[in-house]
């Protein structure tokens, strides 16, 4: 309880403290975000804090309705929408009630046009500005930058999106994780949708491959969030709050490490750029390796390109390794074991001529020489698309 208060920032407007923002992120409906939010709300109330439900969407799930019992609910606002009346969160009532903590479900929700804000996350912004702590929920497919990716993976596109900055602005993001098998079991048991909708859900969105992909996206999203916060502290040198310091000090949870095979040539910069962006998405470190043929002097054009690559590595926070070896594959295999690399990225090979055609291609040799579980990715040369020339 005390931690929540001390970890909030000072509002730039009015000098009062901005509320602490905690988001429960899930891969799909039914993983238990709202349930967990209510559980934590109860825990805060039991600890003596003034907690209210600002808005709850239980979707007729009995477990969720039961879990909400005992918490004060701010009455909803009835808003006309087309030919009907819908119930929405009453922002004014929440602000007037001024609790210490408000539980506000479904931050990606779109408000009817007659309300002040278009989106619920904007309402939440107002609540936070008033110094009220907020717990809220969202599914990963609502994040703007992941919307295309999720649509591609699952074939289902959601219309209600929120900027990624909303997640970035949260003081805490809690991933509510569930295995796809467990989620499907809950769905079959009627804990997510009523009986008549279960088969349709199983045949469409709730397929095991969809859920597995969404779970991976969610895990990565949270890993990247942790890493981006770590970078902010390491770059700014700001001391930060206790929670922030803990976040910055924890060891990296995702054990990926990228290794890009380069050579002192301008074309390698493209590979480095792609490798760095992949490393950013995975929230992991990047090593650049040049296996230098023995006796080859580093001078002239080679020296210049090594300098350029060293500078690029420094800008990106990557590590440049130069290994002198006459067997590139053996050298790479050794570095992979030493550095714990999990991905190897190589550029496209030059066209092979003469006797070199008989030799096994580099990616295959790397696959055989490196430990199991190491992925080899070939970075294609990507020219401008025809329609963009």
């Amino acid at each position: 309880m005390a931690e929540l208060s001390t970890s909030s920032e000072t509002s730039p407007r009015g000098g009062h403290r901005r509320g602490h923002y905690k988001i429960f992120l899930g891969m799909a409906a039914g993983v238990g975000k709202t349930y967990r939010m209510l559980q934590e709300g109860h825990a805060e109330a039991d600890a003596g804090r003034d907690v209210v439900i600002g808005y709850l969407e239980p979707h007729e799930r009995q477990d969720t309705i039961d879990q909400a019992r005992g918490l004060e609910v701010v009455p909803r606002r009835r808003v006309p929408r087309r030919d009907t009346v819908v119930e929405e969160m009453d922002l004014s009532a929440v602000l007037e009630r001024a609790p210490e903590l408000a539980l506000i479900d479904e931050l990606a929700h779109t408000n009817p046009p007659s309300l002040g804000h278009d989106k619920r996350y904007e309402d939440i912004g107002g609540v936070l500005e008033a110094g009220i702590d907020v717990f809220s929920t969202v599914n990963v497919q609502h994040l703007e930058s992941l919307n295309d990716q999720v649509a591609e993976l699952t074939g289902v596109r959601v219309r209600e999106t929120v900027p990624d900055s909303v997640l970035g602005s949260a003081d805490e993001v809690v991933l509510i994780d569930l295995t796809p098998e467990a989620l499907i079991a809950r769905l079959r048991a009627g804990k997510i949708y009523p009986g008549e909708n279960i088969d349709a859900a199983l045949n469409n969105f709730f397929r095991i491959e969809n859920l597995a992909a969404l779970r991976e996206v969610s895990l990565r999203q949270v890993a990247e969030d942790v890493e981006s916060k770590r970078l902010v502290f390491s770059q700014t040198g700001r001391v930060g709050t206790r929670d922030e310091r803990v976040s910055a000090e924890v060891p990296k949870a995702v054990g990926e490490r990228l290794l890009a095979l380069i050579r002192p040539h301008p074309s390698s910069q493209r590979l480095v750029r792609r490798a760095w962006r992949s490393a950013q998405r995975l929230g992991t470190d990047l090593d650049l390796l040049w296996v230098k043929p023995p006796g080859e002097p580093i001078q002239g054009e080679v020296e210049q390109q090594v300098t350029v690559l060293r500078q690029l590595a420094s800008v990106l926070g990557a590590t440049l390794l130069i290994e002198e070896h006459d067997d590139m594959v053996a050298a790479v295999a050794r570095i992979v074991r030493e550095r714990g690399s999990t991905y190897i990225m190589v550029g496209e090979s030059l066209p092979r001529r003469g006797i070199a055609r008989l030799r096994e291609p580099l990616p295959q040799r790397l696959m055989r020489a490196t430990p199991p579980g190491v992925d080899v990715r070939i970075v294609a040369h990507r020219g401008l698309r025809q329609d963009e020339k």
Binding site: Q269, R270, R273, W276, R277, S314, V315, L316, L384, K389
Partner: protein
């Protein structure tokens, strides 16, 4: 006998031809114009299309290499040579977009990212460390390039090369961005 002579002659001619071809290729790759570079400094997440296309036209006409250079500023409280992931996140897609455009036009690219306390400082470090024959700088009235009028005057005085400052026409607001060139995602 004559047949053997002819075969021997053909072999000799083949070997001589191969040798001459290899030598001409080596010479071509060692020609001094292979080091010709056209510097294209820029900042931020967009660059004038006119400037990029002009630099590419020049590079193609002269057989030169395009050197797009992203100028990054590093806050004073951080070491100048520190990693700059936020700046890199802007620079990498932009360099990718420029390289894609250059590749489509057959122009080789050798990109740079230069750090400095200010854009001018980064530019000064770039001029000090690199050799090039021309500099193409996009100039816009709204200061989108990050280089001020004073910076451009400074560049004219300091750059050891021909400087082309390109002002887009009043209606020409076309810019190259990572997203517009399909380099935003990969």
């Amino acid at each position: 006998m004559i047949e053997q002579l002819l075969i021997g002659l053909a072999l000799l001619l083949g070997l001589a031809g191969g040798y001459l071809l290899a030598r001409s290729r080596r010479r071509r790759s060692e020609r001094p114009d292979a080091v010709h570079q056209i510097l294209l400094p820029f900042t931020g997440t967009e660059i004038s299309r006119r400037a990029v296309d002009a630099a590419l036209r020049l590079a193609r006409a002269e057989g030169a290499t395009l050197m797009p250079a992203y100028l990054a500023t590093v806050p004073k409280q951080l070491p100048l040579e520190c990693a700059i992931p936020n700046e890199a996140a802007k620079a990498m897609p932009m360099l990718e977009a420029i390289e894609q455009r250059a590749t489509a036009q057959g122009v080789p690219v050798d990109a740079r990212v230069e750090r400095g306390r200010s854009y001018r400082h980064a530019l000064a470090r770039l001029l000090e460390g690199e050799s090039f024959d021309r500099v193409v700088v996009p100039a816009t009235a709204d200061g989108r390039t990050g280089l001020s009028g004073e910076d451009l005057v400074w560049l004219l005085g300091k750059a050891p090369a021909e400087v082309l400052i390109l002002r887009p026409g009043p209606e020409d607001d076309r810019v190259l961005t990572a997203a517009s060139n399909g380099a935003g995602r990969h």
